[in-house]
Symmetry: C2
Subunit: 215 residues, 2 copies
């Protein structure tokens, strides 16, 4: 294992009396799972990062797998919070675009969710089954019907709903999830500044007629 930079080195003996240890553990778990994948992440490091002991994880969550699910569900809840105004509500281009901007803004602030999803996306597992059934499929349906409504009213580029889904998740959100790599290839890719610019890029692909603007 490569453990380049030591975790914030939680002080050893005196652990501390956290109001919300469970929350802290979930925060730490998100980072570790996103960086090393499920198999590669270790509950020891997660506990360390949260300033807790490793057995606390088994106490507060039942197992590593339960911790993973709780972590993912929490990230989805945070995203839903940031989206509030749902995608399927207004079928207007404005509402749809607004939802996309919120989604991408969230993805730039919390790239962990898309990272975790992408780590699981490449090989079948019970985690992937759960992820799709519990979280992704409902979202996919919402986006699909919203796009269908737009297309029916003559708006939007000539793309299928599945193509739009992939554009949003792969091209759109991965821009932030893969920032460590992209920043090594390009001038700058991570951080908030580029978030709105990338959203513009996505929207230009989806609505070329509306946003032909030069760069």
């Amino acid at each position: 294992m490569e453990r380049s930079n030591a975790v914030p080195t939680a002080r050893r003996h005196p652990r501390r009396r956290p109001e919300h240890l469970a929350e802290d553990l979930l925060d730490a778990a998100a980072i570790e799972f996103a960086s090393h994948g499920y198999d590669g992440a270790s509950t020891r490091r997660i506990a360390d990062r949260a300033g807790a002991h490793q057995p606390q994880i088994n106490y507060h969550f039942r197992s590593k797998e339960h911790l993973w699910r709780a972590t993912v569900s929490r990230l989805f809840e945070m995203m839903a919070l940031q989206l509030r105004r749902q995608v399927d509500e207004g079928s207007s281009v404005g509402a749809f675009s607004d939802a996309i901007r919120r989604f991408l803004r969230f993805s730039s602030v919390h790239p962990e969710l898309n990272r975790i999803i992408n780590l699981e996306a490449t090989s079948p597992s019970s985690r992937l089954d759960w992820l799709v059934a519990t979280h992704l499929d409902p979202l996919h349906r919402m986006v699909g019907s919203a796009w269908a409504a737009l297309r029916a009213s003559g708006e939007g580029a000539d793309l299928t709903a599945d193509e739009v889904w992939e554009l949003l998740t792969s091209y759109g959100a991965l821009h932030f999830a893969n920032a460590p790599m992209l920043s090594r290839l390009q001038t700058s890719a991570d951080g908030d500044p580029a978030a709105e610019a990338h959203a513009d890029s996505v929207l230009r692909l989806l609505f070329p007629a509306r946003m032909p603007g030069p760069r």
Copy 2:
């Protein structure tokens, strides 16, 4: 660790006398690294999958890290072989499109490369540094100058070279790398059949004027 389906169960005692054990180990390593990430992959399973013993890996390659680099380099060589006619050669739309089709065809047959790249893309590591410096940066430059030439001659959509790079790798290649997830969301995503259709989708985004064709 979740080890859902047992590896082809290499016969135990009688190992075999392989012509190219190293090649077999690299094939097996590609699959395991792509499925579980560097940390999650185990040299035992890789050896098992190749019908070899675990210590053989340390004999033929120096370490797990060396095995990983050899695996990645081999996949890039296979891709270069499939691309043969280089991207930067002709600056015509036809040559560029042809290269993209070859790239995506390779990605659909060997999704392991894009999977491995994506696994490393999300967090800094010495492996990511090596990957970018050795393999990705040269490719990125080639694509960049090829696209610049096209744009200079008035061809192609209003996209920056970096946007094109992300469209090709994230939207384009990930379609195949993430097939296990996408196939659970959509009607069908993996396998060769959809490869050309997805290439059409990518090219339609890059050259809307030329390929406005309905679906």
